[in-house]
Amino acid sequence: MSIMSITSSHSSTPLASRSLARRVFDRAVASPGFRVGAAIFLALMLATALYPELSAIDPTKMDVKARLLPPLFTGTNWNWGHPLGTDQIGRDMLVRSLVGLRYSFLIGMASVIVMLIVGCALGTVAGYFGGRTDAVIMRLTDAQLSIPMIILAIAVLGVSRPTIPAIVLVLGMSNWPVYARMMRSIVMTERQREFVRAAKIGGSTDLRIIVTLLLPLLLPSVLFSSVLDVARMMIFESTLGFLGLGVQPPTPTFGNIIADGRKYLLNAWWIATMPGLFLGLTLTSINLMGAALERARDTVHAGGE
């Protein structure tokens, strides 16, 4: 400790007022993992937003003449017009993948937002008030956690035509317990702190303390974890699609493209694998960014700066 106090009195400026969240962010951005991820992600986002319209290829239109074309540099009759090849009825794989990416990403983000709201609210309440409230909420999370998302999704969505709001809801509801637990444990430690006690002495009500003191402190670290969950939700969404429970054809999503392509695995392997590669790339970029953020957060919180 004496070592630390010696160094800190010399290196940091007396009034360094960069907020904690900012420092975490800066540290993460400086790491190579984040940069690689961000670069890939930005490229993909641009492609997703612009390419389908620019290339004027309709992802759902059949073009029997161009069926089963292999991707670039493989097989016999590949061409530049269809860089990732075409499927069994001639639809361009690249455009389909990019459109699928749009849906995946939107659904991923939306479900994470649902998760955050429900999970953090319940977790904060459980952690702050403790006692019976806590026990009830914790058992609720246990019950929720013992129903795998897949089963819930199949049960709910396997029934009628799944709509996007329903998918978002199912995904969000299946995962809020993790955030609830996270918030709960953080709130439980933080509420013992002296400044919470000071606020109580000053006369603040519980609600005021939670909203003005605790939430701004705790949300940033939770948010950094949520980036990774966007990726997870995107995988779930494609899993649902694979099982036929996601967004329905003819709208292309990763899941239903791969499910479709499974039949042609032996002679047109690219139909099933290319979209997956694409998804994998997107997810890797998001995961690199998210993991870098999480790491930075853990380092800064442990006193690294």
């Binding site: 058992r139 246990d142 795998p148 099982l243």
Partner: protein, 326 residues
């Protein structure tokens, strides 16, 4: 004494949880549209007959009554009979509505007990592979924060977690089974059939394990007792092996408990893809066929397993770290 107290408390809570889950699934199934009777009787059956069959099966009674009846028989060990699968193991699907051999249905308990060991075997192999791999990568990463093992762990976990399990299954099948012929893929005909599915599941599990290990090990290394241990005369190996690993395993254990739920989700998909005759495959088919009793039975069994695993995990955690209070 403490253990007994703990067990009693947790088991009671566990029973409540299982009850909650059952009620949830039970209600969900009956509330959500899609009539199992219609599925069983076939699309051509007249309305009146459907109603009669439904009434006979008790499906038109109020939900609470149905639930009560169901739980009553569960407590006696009878999980009911499948709506769909015949006892003789013939292919599923609705026969004609007036086919009298429809009468003999497989007992849910039997179906589950046939499938459970397969899934347990899959889970065991998965855990073995995942833990071994994650331990090697994770511990190396945690002991060298900032060094190349750390970076390697980071990239490996980021990539692994980005691979959709169904896609990976397809790709690995293509490569290892079709093209290279090293491992068998579809169905089950010997232990070797477990390996490929287990690899896919292990790839899915590892990232979280690796990340947790790296975090836990590296944060333990900064704890005062590590450097104080050096001045007390303990060697580095001893400190790491006896103390750091002990402490780092607690968050890992916690994680394993939570991971079980997502593992189950992965098992379902993977068994579906590889046609592996375990609980997962049973579940998917059951849900797609609206086979109520089977779904309920599986729900009860899985939530019971979940409760037991969590209790074991928490018990082991308190044994290792006495500061914890569960």
């Amino acid at each position: 004494m403490f253990t007994l107290n703990f067990l009693i408390r947790r088991l009671t809570q566990g029973v409540v949880i299982i009850g909650l889950v059952s009620l949830l699934i039970f209600t969900l199934l009956r509330v959500v549209p899609g009539d199992p009777v219609r599925l069983m009787a076939g699309g051509m059956a007249p309305e009146a007959l459907i109603e009669k069959i439904a009434k006979d099966m008790g499906l038109r009674d109020p939900i609470i009554v149905q639930f009560g009846r169901y739980m009553g028989s569960v407590l006696q060990g009878d999980l009911g009979q499948s709506f769909v699968r015949p006892a003789n193991g013939a292919a599923t699907g609705g026969a004609n509505f007036n086919d009298t051999t429809r009468g003999e249905r497989a007992k849910v308990l039997t179906l589950i007990l046939e499938a459970l060991p397969m899934t347990l075997q899959l889970a065991a192999v998965t855990l073995a592979i995942a833990l071994l791999f994650s331990a090697v990568v994770g511990i190396a990463g945690g002991l060298n924060p900032g060094g190349w093992p750390d970076k390697l762990a980071f990239y490996i976990s980021s990539v692994f977690i980005s691979l959709p399990n169904f896609w990976l299954g397809i790709v690995l099948t293509l490569l290892l089974s079709v093209k290279l012929g090293w491992l068998p893929a579809i169905g089950y005909n010997g232990f070797a059939y477990t390996i490929l599915p287990a690899v896919v599941l292990a790839v899915e599990m590892s990232p979280v394990l690796i990340r947790t290990l790296v975090g836990a090990v590296s944060s333990q290394m900064t704890e005062p007792y590590v450097s104080v241990g050096r001045v007390r005369g303990l060697g580095r190996t001893r400190i790491i092996a006896n103390h750091v690993m002990r402490n780092a395993s607690v968050p890992l254990l916690n994680l394993l408990g939570i991971q079980f739920s997502s593992l189950l989700g992965g098992v379902i998909i993977v068994e579906y893809i590889f046609d592996y005759p375990g609980l997962g495959l049973l579940t998917i088919n059951a849900v797609l066929q609206r086979d109520f009793p089977l779904i309920q039975g599986i729900a009860i069994v899985t939530s019971a397993i979940f409760v037991v695993i969590n209790i074991i995990v928490d018990l082991v955690a308190t044994t290792i770290d006495p500061r914890l209070d569960y």
